[in-house]
């Protein structure tokens, strides 16, 4: 059962990634990529890593993709807006992917836990390994995040000669 679910979600991941890299519109690419990351999170869950699956949804689908979306909208790279309803060319892949994910998740939620899932890595074990054996790595990563914040602040500062100082985007 879980083996079948793995293959279903692997197919969904690959299909959604293909749709993402073929999308003409960056916003469509982001949406397809979020689908791909959700399916990948379920694969992580099936591979006995529920914590990593949660982080995948929280950080990747939640934070990183929204950051992408924010930048796309801030720079208005999305081309012209059309207020028409999306045609079947857009509905078909989205509906197919969503339907497959929904059906698989329902079967995953309702099935009885198999003995193979007994050896999942719990949050306690994970955090003992993370902060015990890899404490130095946590420190280095936090230092790197600090550097990234400083670099992003430096790059995003208003230009000296710019007219719209303080605002994130200047009107042309």
């Amino acid at each position: 059962m879980e083996t079948t679910l793995f293959y279903i979600f692997a197919t969904v991941t690959v299909l959604a990634t293909m749709l993402a890299i073929c999308a003409r519109h960056p916003v469509h690419a982001i949406i397809h990529l979020v689908t791909s990351f959700f399916a990948l999170a379920v694969i992580f869950y099936l591979l006995a890593a529920p914590l990593v699956a949660m982080f995948e949804v929280l950080i990747y689908a939640g934070a990183v993709m929204v950051l992408f979306m924010f930048v796309i909208m801030m720079l208005s790279l999305g081309g012209g807006d059309s207020d028409k309803r999306p045609g079947p060319r857009l509905w078909l892949p989205a509906g197919f992917l969503a339907g497959t994910v929904l059906a698989s998740l329902l079967s995953l939620a309702t099935m009885a836990p198999s003995p193979q899932t007994a050896n999942v890595i719990t949050a306690r074990e994970f955090s003992q390994t993370l902060f015990g054996r890899y404490g130095i790595a946590v420190e280095i990563i936090s230092l790197q995040l600090l550097f990234a914040v400083v670099g992003a602040l430096y790059l995003g500062r208003p230009r000296q000669r710019g007219t719209a100082a303080g605002s994130g985007e200047e009107a042309p």
């Binding site: 993402a20 791909s36 591979l47 054996r133 914040v149 992003a152 200047e170």
Partner: protein
């Protein structure tokens, strides 16, 4: 493990190649290029988690978490760079940024 390790590695390989294609094809937009890098890093995380599921320890999952943290740092910096370049040149075409000094 619920599936053979080779199948998980095959999936990771496929994802990595898709990300690589995205990076190589989309030179018209820096955003799509960064998306390709995201896909490749996800494939690397999948390999880490698969190794962790194979050995039964939490080490691979810790590595996956580290990859995630590195990715979020990289993305924030890269998107700040994209905003900066767009302000400067009004484009996100990779080929437009050829000079070190403008």
């Amino acid at each position: 493990m619920i599936v053979p390790l080779a199948h998980v590695l095959l999936l990771a390989m496929l994802l990595f190649c898709l990300g690589l294609v995205c990076v190589l094809v989309w030179r018209r937009s820096v955003i799509m290029l960064l998306i390709g890098i995201e896909v490749m890093l996800n494939a690397a995380m999948l390999v880490c988690v698969a190794g962790s599921a194979r050995t039964g320890g939490a080490d691979g999952q810790v590595a996956a978490l580290m990859v995630m943290a590195v990715t979020s740092a990289e993305v924030s910096l890269a998107l700040a760079l994209v905003v900066y370049l767009h302000r400067r040149r009004k484009t996100v075409d990779v080929d437009a940024f050829r000079e070190l000094q403008d």
